[in-house]
Amino acid sequence: MRREVPLVLTAMVGLTMIIAHFIPPLNILKDMFEDWFFIIAAFAIYLGVLNLLRINADKIYKKQRDWPFGIVVILGFLVITIPGLFFSGGRSFSEVGTPFYYLYIHVYYPLSATMFALLAFFVASASYRAFRARNVEATMLLVAAFVLMLGRVPIGDWITVWLPEGYRLGNAADWIMDFPQTAGQRAIMIGIALGLVSSALRVILGLERTYMGGD
């Protein structure tokens, strides 16, 4: 029963959602399943939070490796949650001027932006290592990367200002984006979509059971 019930549920919901896409009156069922999804998605947020607190509290209690960082996690959670829930005007907690908004701007935003900014450095080191003209294909990749990197910023047009308009580096970059790049994206998207269809069918038909844990 432990395996059969989830399999039956998966098949029922999956097939209903597919058929409802083509048979409009079945949208009532589709809407009902979507309502259930809304509820589960909302509760999943709580589940994540509770899990985070439980794991870190456990780490602190048992003095496991790096347990001081568990205190940092829980403190950070409380510092954001308590002002947000109790001192920021209830539902208007995200309005300008609330304590929550202040913490968002001065704590969360700089931390998040800093991590994202790491990408700039990693892109540079990855480009330095990866873009070598080892063979024909790698050379084409290198040339395209060059054209795009310079063409997508004003410096590209500035370097090639002596060329007639429409034939500058910026135009070459736009051409690469509009044609070869889009063609490649489209091909990958079609392949991925078909892979998704096949995988989803396997899950719905019960052929793929890894998501239930083991086989």
């Binding site: 597919i18 896409h21 083509f22 048979i23 409009p24 009156p25 949208n27 009532i28 999943a44 589940l47 994540g48 899990n51 985070l52 794991i55 996690v73 931390l111 998040s112 991590m115 994202f116 790491l118 990408l119 990693f122 892109v123 080191s125 990855a126 480009s127 290592r129 990866a130 994206q185 990958i188 998207m189 079609i190 392949g191 991925i192 078909l194 892979g195 998704l196 269809v197 096949s198 995988s199 989803a200 069918l201 396997r202 899950v203 052929l207 793929e208 890894t210 998501y211 239930m212 844990g213 083991g214 086989d215």
Partner: protein, 415 residues
């Protein structure tokens, strides 16, 4: 009290009655709202002419919205002649509805100026409705003539999705056919996928070096097919790690994924005959936050220096941070994702990358289960159909643009 000696006012009551009438007349006279402008010549007041009412919308038509479950009617009209031209003072349109052509109209919605259609999604099926459009302007309002009667009805099949339905049937049939074909023992050719072939070697390398394997199943939840595909590969990696007695760590970003991965790894250790070696702490939850997760993993890589890092699942911007950090510590990396925007980063930084559908093929490829392999072949039929359609489209459009052959209608209808 006014004294007068004219004969008309001989009677005081008549006089006062006349005054009373004049007063009423005075109070009821509609004086203009705006102040009267004077012309440039002093002493010559210029009277402003009263603005005419806006021209009403014309040709109001209503019809059932096709390919739906009923309960909706679309209304369209020609906009007022004073909307965008003429007096150009229309502020909005009001849509009115009734079940009776001549009376009982009630307000059901508004649209901005310039609008020429509205959807009424609150109708009862098989009930006849009439619609009128009221145009509201600065000068007043005007009402259109009633529309034709219309009623909403259920369509049992969405004809606008017929092409998709046929395609889905063909691909579905192909998948079922090849699954059945595989069940009968027919051998199906699947090309080598380098990333999956390298899994065994990578785990072996970690064993030789005495360092651990870190497996990251993406940052999305179990509702993502890529996560499911990643967890499938985890099962295989966990079984190998159990057999070779190599340390395995699976830090995850979602609680549901943690639960699933624990079950998968436990099952894998059980199947490898090493249930004693399994520990719940091998799979642990870090945080839902994307960059918090990336920061935690980076710290883990630098401190633990794993021999092998698997990045299998759905990734976003953190992909380059993870891949580059793992590269910097000299770990072997086997990545796989169906995110087109992240593939270039993995290809640049990792030793092996499963591109797009290769990730979805992993469960079939690794298990060699005939049913799963059959589904891969079925998906190839779909790809073949797409190739044919694209080729046909390219040919038709090329012929049309180069030779001017009269094929645009056909090409447009098809594509």
């Amino acid at each position: 009290m006014i004294k007068t000696h004219t004969p008309f006012f001989e009677s005081k009551s008549t006089f006062f009655f006349l005054i009373f009438l004049l007063a009423i007349l005075f109070l009821l006279t509609p004086f203009p709202v705006e102040a009267q402008e004077t012309s440039e010549v002093e002493g010559e007041p210029v009277e402003e002419a009263e603005a005419p009412l806006p021209a009403p919308p014309a040709n109001v038509t209503a019809k059932d919205i096709p390919n739906d479950k009923g309960g909706a009617i679309t209304i369209s009209w020609e906009k007022s002649a004073d909307d965008g031209e003429g007096a150009n003072n229309v502020t909005e349109y009001e849509i009115l509805r009734s079940t009776n052509r001549d009376e009982g109209y009630e307000h059901i919605g508004n649209t901005a100026p310039g609008a020429t259609s509205f959807s009424d999604s609150d109708t009862k099926n098989k009930v006849r409705y009439f619609y009128k459009i009221k145009v509201i302007s600065l000068a007043g309002t005007s009402l259109s003539l009633p529309s034709n009667p219309a009623f909403s009805k259920v369509q049992w099949f969405d004809l606008s999705r017929l092409t998709l339905f046929i395609l889905a049937l063909i691909i579905g049939f192909a998948i079922f056919y090849f699954i059945n074909s595989a069940k009968t023992g027919k051998e199906l050719f699947i090309r080598k996928i380098a990333g999956l072939e390298a899994v065994d070697d990578a785990v072996g390398r970690a064993t030789e070096m005495g360092r651990k394997i870190i497996f990251i199943p993406g940052i999305m939840d179990m509702d993502s097919m890529q996560t499911i595909a990643g967890v499938t590969i985890l099962g295989r990696v966990a079984k190998l790690a159990a057999e070779y007695e190599t340390k395995l760590e699976v830090p995850v970003s979602r609680s549901l994924v943690m639960v699933t991965c624990r079950e998968t790894v436990k099952e894998a250790y059980l199947n490898a005959g090493r249930p004693d070696a399994y520990n719940d702490n091998m799979v642990y939850y870090l945080t839902d936050d994307q960059f918090g997760y990336a920061a935690a993993l980076d710290g883990l890589f630098i401190r633990e220096k794993p021999a092998v890092v698997f990045l299998q699942g759905q990734f976003y911007a953190e992909s380059l941070i993870l891949a580059e950090t793992a590269n910097s510590i000299g770990a072997i990396q086997i990545a796989g994702t169906a995110m087109p925007s992240q593939l270039p980063f993995f290809v640049a930084c990792c030793d092996y990358t499963l591109i797009g559908e290769e990730l979805f093929a992993a469960s079939a490829y690794l298990s060699k289960d005939p049913k799963l392999l059959g589904s891969l072949k079925g998906q190839d039929v779909g790809k073949f159909i797409f190739l044919l359609v694209i080729f046909a489209g390219v040919v038709l459009l090329t012929l049309n643009s180069v030779f001017g052959w009269n094929l645009p209608n056909l090409a447009e209808k098809l594509f």
